[in-house]
Symmetry: C2
Amino acid sequence: MVKSVIGPEIERLIQLLAKLPGLGPRSARRAALHLLNKKEGLMAPLGAAIQEAVAKVGVCSECGNVDSINPCTLCSDPRRDGATMVVVETVADLWALERASATNATYHVLGGTLSPLDGIGPEQLNMAKLVERVAHGGVKELIIAVNATIEGQTTAHYIMEQVSDFPVSVSRLAHGVPVGGELDYLDEGTLSAAMRSRTRIE
Amino acid sequence: MVKSVIGPEIERLIQLLAKLPGLGPRSARRAALHLLNKKEGLMAPLGAAIQEAVAKVGVCSECGNVDSINPCTLCSDPRRDGATMVVVETVADLWALERASATNATYHVLGGTLSPLDGIGPEQLNMAKLVERVAHGGVKELIIAVNATIEGQTTAHYIMEQVSDFPVSVSRLAHGVPVGGELDYLDEGTLSAAMRSRTRIE
């Protein structure tokens, strides 16, 4: 990019937009022009929405969710089942489970997975608070809903060790064939797991 | 999305981000969470950059480029060749030509192409100003660098008619094989054009 023909304000806008996941340098330029073409209808509202979120949205001190109230909407909702707690890696996973209406449980967001090679140990995650919440009592079942990756499984094992002294049952999400999935496209690990965990048709 | 579990500030941020080209609902959610994870490093600066661009950046009254000064950097640069003017559809096209250092000419941004079916006539484009700039004299060559689409070619013909009374030579970008392109993947129209416009190897 020849710097001189693009004003510094636009250049900076493009550079920051390019840091969003899903946008590269080219799509960031397109996004910047799209914004400049819709200054009143989109650009000004987006700027205001970002500033408002910066000012108001924070991390829930209970579960690690993001919200404008603390404790968050989920933690302060008396209709949620406090005896069941779902442990997820990220807020995106929490949202995904909520979209699916998969559970009425409360959540705990770790903020990632253990990854010693990347320097991510328990201290870098929301782990101490998880143990504290379990130790505090009230949680009867801990559903570990981390991704089915090596790091996710390592993290799951670590959590099981940490809570082994407390009277809480620990479970994980079922492995199996995705609904709508075709067997021919599934890996051997998933197929074997689905076979082992087959359920009887009544 | 179950509205109740996502705060209104985050919901609004996601909705606005989803209007950016290249971002859908899912990637807008990812982008929103990415921003919330980097509030100080990315989110606040992006909000400020957007607000600053809203306040400072406008459309150049001469050529239709976007810049924080008016006339824009290109129009007010005495080193640019005012005798040659390149007509482009969008600012993105202007940037693309500048990245390629394809010309030292001045520009004129139409803001689109004629498309009667979409209700886009000459009045919806930056067309009157183009004719005015040509009529004003000084422009010796008008290079019509619109896209090689039906709408682009229609627009090119319209411009040629509009400036036919003025002493200006009109040209268009060459058709041919893209540099690095493979013949086998090119359409017949491009290949025929490349054959007709073949150049002698000295």
